[in-house]
Amino acid sequence: MTAEFEPKIIAFCCNWCAYAGADLAGVSRIQYPPNIRVIRIMCSSRISPDFILKAFQKGADGILVSG
């Protein structure tokens, strides 16, 4: 039997808001699935289409841009 599908998700988080929000989730001990890998950037305007394409190309199942 194959293991249940677990998506790999890349999250681009703005240092000033979304990344701080992810930290706050930690401080508040809010539990969420461990499928996300967060990449910290200084601003969501920094996200170039290249990043998104690269992530999909490398096998990401979902991408979260949060800022």
């Binding site: 790999k8 990344y19 930290d23 930690g26 990449i39 950037i41 920094r46 170039s48 290249d50 990043f51």
Partner: protein, 1080 residues
């Protein structure tokens, strides 16, 4: 080291450890009932018995107190051991057949119904209580009796004198047998959490609140068992870093200072003394402070809106305003606390958001005082959202029999008596002087006023009666957060002016060793994995992460730390970086948002550029959020370390740029705010340019005679203008107009034109202060401009000594003329106080005069409420109107004036025949758009300048180096304008006092050889950092002005050729992280 066989496997352990400890370390479960980390092992319950083979024979020992030795063989789950455990549990079950804890044990060990005679006890004689009591140092209880008669008891089975009522015995007892009430008759009081307003308890050792600075626990000496008995110290055993030191004592420290700032705050009013509100009797009558905690996600119910009595969601909540404010009946607080109306509206709005199935909210008030910036709009929104506002002062709160509900009786606007049930009542408590303030004031020699607030004047709002002693915040009078923060900066500014001569004298400059050039070296990455005590290591398997990190490319050194941020770990990090010749460092720990600066400083201390650092967040974004899944959390931690290492290999050292600062300020506006700001800066030795549009200094204050306290404004203004004109550091540019401005923090250049366009002057300055003021509107109603006996508020002052006003027998003031109307929703804040004050003065001059104030809400906030009280005492008549029924002003046939207004008490129109009318015309700004655009600062909905944060940064703009003060920020009385001007000066001085300012190194750069000058980056940048520069004829490229760049990287994305890039977050670095995240 001891080596022995545990369940068939060879294990190593420290000499002196017990079998139980070694088993635990090897993830082998041994059940125990009497063992506890805080207590010496006793071997009482025998449940931890294991099988021991010593080479010759097999025997059974209690693992909790049997030390390990080399060569022994231990088996923890042999058939005999299991049989033995089952027997013990069966015996316990027979002893305590009805105890849930024992029943649960029986289930766990699969024990059938006991074969023995059943007893009816609930003590399993584990002795935890006796031993913890001994450890606490009280020795109040012990075992008494023998054999089957044995029990835990106090001496002579009477209440114990020795008991300190700490409750440790009851807390530690697993079966619930021990009851503190059977041991002592001392009153047992829970320790109430100050932070949760007493709604929850706290421990004697506690972190005061989540955001406390420093964020470390404190021991409450009055409650800690150690300070009661001299023993215990259990916390010290548990602390992994040995940080707890019970021997510390209070120290007396002597400081030599040149100024003292008093900022001790206030205490919320205690409504227990309002008997009729039953705060002490009814759990569902809470204070607004308690309600704040109920709404808070860190509060007792995690933000879930429930009422205390039954933890059920309320459907109807009432707020009662002015509890402990505007009241000289229950207390002596005649003043208005100034903040309660706004917070009640806020609490009602948030409560509505939190309530899942709808919530009815009603606010019972006397006057709704939402006079702050954008407060009125919030009040309007609350009305639209269905918050009910009932103008009534509630006299009593009665319980509804057989329920936890409450009954309020009141008279509504129509004059009908109504009684209404509520699930919960919130008392909007006011603020009063803290209890210790009288003593403090006496000690420093500062006077207090009749409400025990620090006595200050309108012209020196943060100076106490004692030179060199300053006051700010609630200690000086009731006020909200923005004004408190402004005053705090103002007090700092005033103190800095006084101490200007000693600036730079006590400075210790931090120095770093010279930076090592790593450009020619291959990456040598050191990875440090932090346990963060147990915060990370209890979830993420650190050894596995360490081993994994060793396999990653470019990693030459890996180590784990208990606390990477501790001082000794930092010192060790410096040594390791040097010894191992590391040139990149990855720390896997908490969030870079909190700790990156600290670790970067450590890198600088070890001769590395601070940008050669990367942090993997395996706590806030891993162990804390995946605590239930150790495998997944460990895998994620490995991934995060891999991503960090991938980026670290590509990190480049960056310069730490700094810019020089021109120690001059440009102050736009020559009113009281602008002049005060310039004078405060000049007193500190900085140059200030005042640009004033008109031909004289003074602004709106020139129209005013007295402050609300009665202080003489013209005299003050004259001396202020004199100071300005005499000060060599201040240059005044009258008839000046700002034409254009450029530059950045520390280095601005502004062009002004003088006397029309007669001459042009260029000013270089390090900061800019916008103090452009505001103006009274010109009303188009109430016959203003048509009848010369209708004044605007400041015009009454001008006409004060005319025969018309002197001989008048009747006067009417109409409030909110042009304010709080749909087209201009803001409250102009100062008009109520002005009219009430003038009414009092008219009454003083001629007590027989009829003076009417026609108003919507009287907003004499703070101690100004005294004036309102005085006006009523003197017989000024207040008539309320609402927007649907505005007063009508007409001219009678004989040329007189007539005001018709519907009286709220009589509910019918009445006609007044005043000799003159004063209109409280609104205050608004004019033509700020151009300045706002020029200085890249925003405007509010009401066209006042919009500061970066309304509460916490009330004089700053997001645009560095630009500040605001005075009426251009919002209408305010002269004392608040002066405080804000001093605050703006203090904030500006933090920049001007620096010779050079370090600016962020994470900025954009443009590779000019790739740039084709298309200007996409200029378009994309919200801060104006890139500019197109012609480098040779007809050929332009983009260049980044680093001081303006905020490092967002928008230009790098916009650039079609790849010329623009953002340092430290380069494409390569981000792409490497993406690849590393997905490579396994």
């Amino acid at each position: 080291m001891v080596t022995f066989i545990l369940n068939g496997r060879e294990v190593k352990a420290e000499e002196g450890t017990t079998i139980l400890q070694v088993a635990e370390a090897n993830n082998i479960y041994i059940p125990t009932l009497c063992n506890h980390k805080a207590l010496e092992p006793a071997g009482l319950c025998r449940l931890c018995t294991v099988e021991l083979f010593d080479g010759r024979r097999k025997r059974f020992v209690t693992s909790c107190n049997y030390p390990v030795w080399t060569g022994m063989e231990v088996n923890t789950d042999s058939e005999e051991v299991i049989r033995h455990r089952k027997m013990l549990i069966e015996l316990l079950w027979a002893r305590c057949p009805n105890n849930d804890y024992v029943k649960h044990l029986a289930e766990q060990f699969e024990v059938d119904t006991p074969r023995f005679k059943l007893d009816d006890d609930d003590c399993i004689l584990c002795g935890l209580c006796v031993r913890v009591c001994e450890r606490i140092g009280a020795n109040a209880i012990d075992f008494s009796g023998r054999g089957t008669e044995m029990e835990v008891a106090t001496p002579f089975e009477t209440y114990s004198e020795a008991c300190v009522a700490c409750g440790a015995c009851e807390f530690i007892c697993p079966t619930g047998h021990i009851k503190l009430s059977e041991i002592t008759d001392k009153e047992v009081q829970p320790i109430l959490s100050e932070y949760d307003a007493g709604l929850t308890g706290r421990k004697p050792i506690y972190v005061p609140y989540a955001q406390a600075v420093p964020n470390i626990p404190a021991i409450d000496r009055s409650k800690c068992a150690h300070f009661l008995t001299g023993d215990c110290k259990i916390c010290a055993d548990f602390c992994p870093t040995g940080a707890i030191d019970h021997s510390q004592v209070d120290e007396e420290v002597e400081l030599e200072v040149g100024a003292i700032v008093l900022a001790t705050g206030f205490r919320p009013f205690d409504p227990t003394q309002y008997d009729d509100y039953g705060y002490a009797k009814h759990p569902n009558v809470v204070t607004s402070v308690e309600f704040e905690r109920i709404l808070s996600s860190s509060g007792p119910w995690h933000g879930h809106l429930v009422r205390p009595s039954d933890e059920k969601e309320p459907k109807k909540i009432a707020w009662l305003q002015c509890v402990g404010s505007r009241d000289i009946n229950h207390c002596d607080n005649g003043y208005c606390s100034g903040v309660c109306c706004m917070y009640a509206v806020k609490e009602a709005m948030i409560a509505k958001e939190h309530a899942k199935d709808g919530l009815d909210t009603a606010i019972f008030y006397m006057d709704m005082r939402t006079f702050g910036k954008e407060f009125e709009q919030y009040y309007n929104r609350a009305q639209e959202d269905g918050v009910r506002f009932v103008r009534s002062r509630i006299h009593s709160v009665d319980p509804v029999p057989a329920t936890d509900n409450l009954l309020l009786g009141y008279v509504n606007e129509a004059g009908e008596a109504v009684s209404e049930k509520f699930d919960m009542v919130v008392l909007s408590v006011g603020m009063e002087a803290s209890p210790g303030v009288t003593e403090l004031a006496k000690k420093v020699g500062a006077d207090l006023n009749h409400y025990n607030f620090a006595s200050t004047s309108s012209f020196n709002p943060v100076e106490t009666s004692k030179p060199g002693v300053y006051a700010c915040g609630l200690l000086q009078g009731p006020k909200d957060i923005p004004l408190s923060v402004m005053e705090a900066s103002a007090a700092a500014g005033a103190a800095a002016s006084r101490l200007a001569g000693s600036r730079y004298t006590l400075i210790k400059e931090k120095t770093f060793p010279e930076e090592r050039d790593v450009s020619a070296e291959e990456p040598r990455i050191g990875v440090f994995v932090c346990h963060c005590g147990v915060n990370i290591s209890s979830v993420v398997r650190i050894p596995e992460v360490v081993e994994y990190a060793k396999t990653l490319p470019n990693v030459t050194f890996v180590q784990d730390n208990l606390f990477s941020c501790s001082t000794d770990a930092q010192a060790q990090l410096v040594d390791i970086i040097k010894q191992q010749n590391l040139n990149r460092v990855v720390i896997s720990a908490c969030s870079p948002r909190t700790h990156e600066p600290l670790f970067q400083e450590t890198l600088r201390n070890s001769s590395l550029n601070k940008y050669l650092f990367e942090q993997a967040n395996i706590r806030d974004q891993c162990s804390w959020v995946h605590s239930g899944d150790r495998d997944a959390a460990t895998e994620k931690a490995k991934d995060l370390v891999r991503m960090a290492v991938a980026r670290a290999a590509l990190l480049e050292p960056l310069p730490l740029p700094s810019v020089t600062v021109n120690p001059a300020a440009l102050v736009i506006g020559g009113g009281v705010a602008g002049m005060t700001c310039a004078r405060t800066l000049a007193q500190q030795g900085f140059k200030a340019h005042i640009v004033e549009k008109s031909d004289s200094l003074g602004g709106q204050a020139s129209n005013l005679k007295k402050t609300w306290r009665g202080e003489n404004i013209p005299k003050f203004l004259k001396s202020l203008v004199n100071d300005i004109n005499r000060d060599k550091n201040i240059e005044v540019h009258l008839n000046g107009q700002v034409k254009e401005t450029s530059g950045f923090l520390g280095n601005f250049k502004t062009t002004i034109s003088l006397n029309g366009d007669e001459s042009i002057r260029e000013i270089e300055h390090g900061v800019t202060v916008l103090a452009t003021g505001a103006h009274p509107t010109v009303p188009e109603e109430y016959l203003y401009g048509k009848n010369n006996r209708v004044f605007r508020w400041h015009e009454l002052d001008e006409a004060w000594d005319t025969d018309l006003v002197k001989n008048a027998t009747s006067a009417v003031f109409i409030q909110c003329v042009g304010s709080r109307e749909p087209e201009r929703p803001h409250c102009s804040k100062i008009c109520c106080t002005f009219s009430v004050q003038k009414a009092v003065e008219l009454k003083e001059r001629n007590p027989q005069m009829d003076v009417y104030i026609v108003y919507r809400d009287i907003r004499t906030y703070g101690e100004r409420e005294d004036l309102y009280k005085e006006a009523r005492a003197k017989g000024v008549i207040f008539i309320r109107y609402d927007l649907d029924n505005k007063p009508v002003v007409a001219e009678t046939d004989d040329g007189g004036l007539e005001v018709t207004v519907v009286d709220h008490v009589l509910q019918r129109p009445i006609t007044l025949k005043p000799d003159f009318i004063t209109l409280a015309s609104a205050i608004e700004t004019r033509g700020l758009e151009e300045l706002a655009q020029m200085f890249k600062v925003p405007l509010s909905q009401d066209n006042f300048f919009m500061e970066v944060h309304m509460k916490l940064r009330p004089v700053d703009f997001a645009n560095d180096g630009v500040f605001v003060c005075g009426l251009a920020h919002y209408p305010k009385p002269i004392d608040e304008s002066i405080a804000q001007a001093q605050a703006a000066a203090a904030r500006a001085a933090t920049i001007l006092a620096q010779k050079r300012i370090e600016v962020e190194g994470v900025v954009s750069t443009v590779d000019e050889s790739l740039c084709r000058g298309c200007g996409e980056c200029v378009e994309a940048c919200p801060y104006g950092a890139p500019e197109l520069v012609e480098i040779s004829e007809g050929f332009q490229v983009s260049q980044i002005q680093e001081a303006l760049c905020k490092g967002c990287g928008a230009c790098a994305v916009a650039c079609p050729t790849g010329a623009a890039a953002i340092r430290h977050f380069t494409d390569n670095e981000v792409l490497a992280m993406i690849e590393a995240a997905l490579c396994e």
